[in-house]
Subunit: 213 residues, 2 copies
């Protein structure tokens, strides 16, 4: 059954920061129990495709009894193989129309945009949500576009036509003005992955999001 | 319609050696006109997924009017997206049973094996052919297993239960003893990709294969 899409606090897993597949599962378990509303598996080069599949299976099993959807970044075949709830792609990945054809109508599809030109090219009827960013400089993605800043984010949010999550260098110290641009939620990587007390930092982020809205 | 599987001379395309997507298309065109019987798109890190897709589409279009099948390495979603004739996976990729489920019964599925243990684990009923190697040391794959040598290849060929293509450092100077092990064909990368006269080297390889059989 298709889950609800709640973008409030969207966790993007990094296998290096989390400590491998087991670390990602442990992080996800704690984060979901403390408020995370969506989870994405992402890895630049640290997982081979067999490990992507194994990580996806483990996360799918963990999340299957929850209302939290699992997204797979880029690798549509891994998403199909583990029956994930959705796929998230960027501008250098398979085109959105091709992805929608491969995954069908019942899966979520998210797309990253980094500027107004990309936003104006989004095929709205095929996409469920946008990832807009990077808002701030980020260290967890090597090929990120230049940071938008809160003002740049605000400009894109004003033009958007579907739900959006802000991403890129967001943590508890800079979250409030990001939420106040009107995005449906924020995506975090290092604000949760690799933190000593996952439960506590997740609760704090959720409290700040609620307070800022 | 499903094409015939003729492994005699199997070209594995390298976008760096060939000079990008246009170079791969040009190389394939000349190679197929001069005897190559199967083509695989492979790239370690030089293509992003959008480029994989664009390369796959261009090769699919070129080969659609020929009897030569197009294989996509590893990226099952790209294979599905461009309706390739088959997929080739290694031991670190999506498991063979998962790949077969994703591509269905009508596509070819090839699997790389590098030793007897891997050969003994092959699910024969799911695989159309094996890639056995590397026979000789290779410079076109960074994570290759130790070279088998002709004697090591011979040992594996004696145990195989489906058609096989030998791969790894094979060129016109060392091809004859490889063919004489009883493989159905040889796969080459740098023996064709990046060569000045693609037509001439392809013809020479085909003549040598016929002579050695």
């Amino acid at each position: 059954m298709k889950k609800q899409l709640d973008l409030s606090l969207y966790l993007v897993l990094d296998p290096v920061l989390c400590g491998g597949i087991e670390g990602m599962v442990r992080t996800t378990d704690l984060a979901v129990k403390n408020g995370v509303t969506a989870v994405q598996l992402r890895s630049e080069h640290s997982l081979n495709r067999k490990q992507w599949y194994e990580a996806g299976l483990a996360l799918k099993q963990l999340l299957s009894s929850t209302s939290v959807p699992l997204f797979i970044n880029d690798q549509v075949d891994v998403a199909l193989a583990v029956d994930a709830d959705g796929v998230h792609v960027g501008q250098s990945d398979l085109p959105v129309d091709v992805v929608r054809r491969l995954i069908g109508a019942d899966k979520f599809l998210g797309l990253s945009v980094s500027n107004l030109a990309e936003l104006n090219n989004v095929p709205w009827n095929l996409v469920d949500y946008l990832g807009i960013g990077p808002v701030f400089p980020t260290t967890s993605k090597t090929n990120a576009a230049p940071a938008l800043g809160v003002a740049g984010l605000q400009t894109l949010v004003a033009q958007k036509c579907c739900p959006a999550v802000a991403i890129g260098g967001i943590n508890s110290s800079n979250l409030a003005p990001v939420v106040q641009t009107g995005v449906e939620g924020v995506a975090v990587v290092s604000a949760i992955c690799g933190q000593v007390d996952i439960a506590q930092v997740t609760k704090q982020l959720m409290t700040q999001i609620s307070g800022a809205k």
